[in-house]
């Protein structure tokens, strides 16, 4: 028995007919082929599958696709095209804050959410915010540096705009 759902994914209306047990992550990856959302544990521990559901980061592996019906979902592909995370991307690149790249989607989502709430997070606050994002490659320091640098740049730019 399948269910028809509609939702807005990266600004585009999407309609699909799915099994009710389909997770949002599987809908995004397997049906819509938005493979930038990664699956690392499928139990909400690793953070690789984070997406924005009506602007809030959620684990796409723990949300059923039917729960997202009628809502807005933003993935890394959408944020990339919108330009909203351009400075974060630039700082991650400059600081080499990723190696294999599998956790990067989740790191960017967490950083994006953190910086939209906190303009000047301390390093311990950034580390705390990343407590649900597992990275096996980097040792985290470069990620903290990149987020910190982005926060400072945004603060400087905001100051210059006054």
């Amino acid at each position: 028995m399948k269910t028809e759902i509609t939702l807005i994914v990266n600004g585009e209306a999407v309609r699909d007919v799915i099994e009710p047990r389909t997770s949002l992550a599987d809908l995004l990856r397997d049906r819509l082929r938005l493979t930038g959302t990664h699956l690392g544990c499928e139990m909400g521990s690793c953070g690789a599958c984070l997406v924005l559901l009506d602007g809030t980061p959620v684990h796409a592996c723990l949300v059923l696709a039917v729960q997202a019906a009628g809502q807005r979902v933003d993935t890394i592909e959408g944020l990339n095209e919108s330009g909203d995370i351009k400075d974060l991307q630039q700082n991650f690149h400059a600081r080499n804050a990723l190696q294999c790249g599998f956790c990067t989607n989740g790191m960017i989502m967490t950083a994006h959410a953190l910086l939209s709430e906190s303009t000047a997070p301390t390093r311990p606050e950034i580390r705390e915010a990343l407590s649900g994002n597992y990275c096996r490659c980097t040792g985290y320091e470069a990620i903290v540096d990149a987020i910190s640098a982005t926060a400072k740049q945004r603060a400087t730019n905001a100051g210059a705009g006054k």
């Binding site: 930038g36 080499n96 597992y134 096996r136």
Partner: protein, 790 residues
């Protein structure tokens, strides 16, 4: 040597794709008519299979085929994980699905192929598995008891491999020693937990006989060889493509039952088959690492001179030795790396590699290094304590002198040139040792228990055939590169070393760019495809920069000579008076541009008719390089850890970590530092958190990412790094490896730091991970439980 780009912190172009959500992982790939595999696994550690009934599963919705050992194993030649140079080594033959016997909890028994993974998993629930429980061998000491049951068929005892290294004067050294310090150490079993699980898509096309395997591995050529030989295919009909890989660290270069079964299923069904391990099955099928019990003693003179070490290592590896690299290499390196940084003249190391009914253990980042380093450095600290010496002073007395090379260690390793003394001094300055000790003393008066630990190390890099080739394994010791100038004057390099995010493609571009006088942005590097890159060993045991880099350098120089010869013909000039710079052929004396590379490419490609008769217009150069000279290029370094132990809760806070490292010529400082940082955290994880816990029946009890603790951002310290540069003279490039350095000594430094914090309280810990409960037990605040695994 041109150093325009070698030595610069170039950024990784391939990182941009990941940041845009455009990674290309095996798990992202979907092929037409692709089936999804799921496995029914043994629920118990050991048993006889009485009956497997797959009738209901085969009839389940979406199921296309169900395989058991009887219907699948016949297509694959069994594999045996032994090597000839490990004398007397044994391991039973392995095949894809359990046949007659299950040998660990997680052993695959039935393979189900369905239109979706969910449907395959549903059908797994319908398989009736009747297995008669047998006594499992869970503990390595119990495995060695007389009359202990065997961990598997095909072996005559539970001893996989034993060896002893001994210098003639060992006993005399202990007899004349002023002091002997000793300890018993336990190093827990842990696992790689790559964020992308193991993934493979096998795609056999019966119309052409071509097998293409998309495989998340660091060693595509090794798997091309394995698939060809074990499935009876011509090598030319096997293509292995390793796209983006979500972490490997050694874990993804071993042969696994599930990957082999996926290939077999595709061969039998003639359509693509996908297997992606979910996290739960990763824990019970990915190789585990370490799992050592070590008894060690160290003889020292009255002045703190280290005379000898005597070490006994027992390591527990599961029911089989892994293939094709075996499960004995780890222990072999443990006993050979003991005492490696020191002048220590005498040594005895005994190794016992023991079978048991658990997941296989095998090579994982920094193979053997963390164990050898932790044991050695714990004993050095105990000697220092006994003699009331500062940890820096006792190491200064014993470290190999920077001018005392070449040197052969007591265990037989040949060191070309290391820099222990310079590294020790640099670390002392960098961490502000004196001030740190004062801070520690001041805080102790306030009841705050901080500790400082240091650990010098030696790392094995750039291995030649001595690792595996001499033992009969078909694992390449050489690498290959093809460099070409494109018709518009850009450069392309196809190379056999692979990329897992450490920056292989970037450093290769830098090296090639410097040989051809272009910027790295104009060098496109392709890796990870056996059809499009030359054959080679790829990336393992720290060979990407040292061996891959040298291969690229030599190929680049070969093409440079071809370009200059062609330019000489075009310009009617002596090629010896020309060189390459700024994307052009220039006058070597004046630097003036004579002809651009774009123009060379244009003429050679579109107007070869204008070249003089007999002029060779080839703009492609191939080169293979196998390391010669020393069997390995050893690197060295030293790490320090600063911790605070809460003696009420047993929780350790990691305040700071320092590393001084000497990896020879540094190609890209940014990437080297990030390799070290990542490596340190991979060493700190198992020092404090990571452990595969088993119950007495051989069941892993924390096999999920909610229960198995990995290091997260909040617990990890900032890591300060400095370098000494001692290039190897074995190569033109002079680079050595750096991938294992961080992991090699981080845990050792941390254990010394924790013990430094506990010392005034009379407590000592010799087991990793150093969990809060174990620290409280060491402090006597809780009584030791009856079991090791808590």
């Amino acid at each position: 040597m041109s150093k325009d780009h070698i030595g610069q912190s170039h950024r990784r172009e391939n990182a941009l794709r990941h940041l845009a959500g455009r990674g290309r992982f095996t798990t992202d790939l979907s092929l037409p008519r692709m089936l999804h595999a799921a496995f029914v696994r043994s629920p118990m550690a050991k048993g006889r299979i009485v009956e497997v009934d797959v009738t209901d599963a085969a009839a389940a919705p979406g199921v296309v085929r169900v395989f058991t050992a009887q219907t699948l194993n016949h297509v694959c030649e069994p594999w045996v994980g032994t090597l000839d140079h490990f004398a007397g080594m044994q391991s039973g033959p392995q095949n894809m699905l359990a046949d007659g016997q299950v040998l660990w909890a997680g052993h695959p028994v039935v393979m189900i192929l369905a239109h979706s993974r969910a449907e395959a998993e549903d059908a797994c629930e319908l398989v009736m598995l009747d297995i008669e429980d047998e006594d499992a061998i869970v503990d390595g000491d119990a495995a060695q008891m007389e009359n202990a049951p065997l961990a598997s068929d095909g072996i005559d005892s539970n001893m996989c491999f034993q060896t002893v290294l001994e210098t003639p004067d060992l006993d005399a050294a202990f007899a004349r020693a002023a002091h002997v310090v000793e300890g018993d150490f336990t190093f827990g079993r842990h696992t790689a937990v790559t964020l992308e699980p193991r993934a493979v898509i096998a795609d056999y096309d019966p119309s052409t006989g071509q097998l293409t395997v998309h495989h998340g591995t660091q060693t595509p050529y090794q798997f091309q060889d394995v698939y060809a030989r074990h499935f009876g295919l011509n090598e030319s009909k096997v293509r292995v493509i390793a796209p983006d890989i979500g972490g490997s660290f050694g874990m993804k270069l071993h042969v696994y039952h599930e990957e082999m079964a996926t290939v077999a299923a595709s061969l039998l069904l003639g359509r693509p088959v996908r297997f992606v391990a979910d996290r739960l099955e990763s824990f019970v099928s990915d190789i585990h690492a370490r799992d050592h019990r070590v008894s060690a003693r160290m003889a020292v003179d009255a002045d703190g001179t280290i005379l000898a070490m005597d070490v006994d290592d027992m390591t527990q590896i599961g029911a089989f030795s892994t293939y094709p690299r075996t499960s004995a290499a780890e222990g072999n390196q443990v006993i050979r790396l003991m005492g490696a940084p020191y002048k220590m003249p005498d040594y005895r190391g005994r190794l016992s590699v023991v079978f048991q009914n658990k997941v296989q253990t095998s090579q994982y980042r920094a193979v053997g290094h963390p164990i050898a380093c932790a044991v050695t450095e714990a004993l050095v600290d105990r000697a220092a304590q006994l003699l009331d010496m500062d940890p820096f002073d006792i190491r200064a007395r014993n470290l190999l002198a920077d001018d005392d090379y070449p040197h052969v260690s007591a265990t037989g390793y040949q060191f070309e040139k290391l820099s222990h003394q310079a590294s020790l001094e640099k670390l002392h300055d960098m961490m502000g040792y004196g001030a740190l000790r004062k801070e520690q003393a001041r805080l102790r008066e306030q009841g705050i228990h901080r500790g400082i630990g240091i650990a010098p190390f030696v790392e094995i890099t750039n291995p030649g055939a001595a690792f595996y080739g001499v033992g009969g394994a078909r694992i390449s010791a050489q690498d290959g590169a093809v460099v070409r100038l494109t018709p518009s004057g850009d450069v392309h390099c196809a190379i056999s070393v692979t990329e897992q995010g450490q920056g292989t493609e970037t450093i290769i571009a830098q090296v090639v760019a410097d040989q051809l006088g272009v910027t790295p942005e104009r060098v496109k590097v392709t890796t990870g495809d056996t059809d499009t890159t030359p054959s080679g060993g790829a990336t393992w045991a720290c060979r990407g920069a040292g061996i891959g880099g040298e291969t690229a350098l030599r190929a680049g120089r070969k093409l440079q000579a071809q370009i200059l010869a062609l330019a000489g013909a075009i310009l009617q000039a002596d090629p010896a008076k020309l060189t390459l710079a700024n994307g052009a052929v220039v006058d070597a004396a004046t630097g003036d541009e004579r002809i651009s590379l774009a123009e060379i490419g244009r003429i050679a490609t579109y107007r070869p008719d204008t070249l003089p008769d007999g002029c060779n217009s080839s703009l492609t150069a191939a080169e293979h390089f196998a390391p010669g000279g020393y069997p390995f290029d050893f690197t060295n370094g030293i790490q320090a850890s600063y911790v605070e132990v809460d003696i009420e809760t047993g929780i350790t806070r990691l305040l700071k970590h320092w590393v001084v490292e000497d990896c020879g010529r540094i190609i890209n400082p940014l990437l080297v530092d990030e390799q070290i940082r990542g490596g340190v955290v991979q060493g700190l994880g198992p020092a404090f958190f990571e452990e595969c816990l088993y119950d007495d029946a051989g069941q892993m009890t924390n096999a999920s990412l909610a229960d198995y603790l990995v290091p997260m951002a909040g617990e990890m310290p900032d890591i300060e790094i400095a370098h000494v540069e001692t290039p190897t003279k074995d190569t033109i490039l002079g680079a050595k490896g750096v991938g294992e350095a961080g992991t090699a000594a981080a845990g050792a430094a941390a254990m010394n730091a924790v013990n430094d914090a506990l010392r005034p309280l009379g407590a000592q810990i010799s087991q990793t991970p150093m969990t809060p409960l174990r620290i409280l037990t060491a402090l006597g605040h809780v009584s030791a439980g009856p079991k090791r695994g808590y």
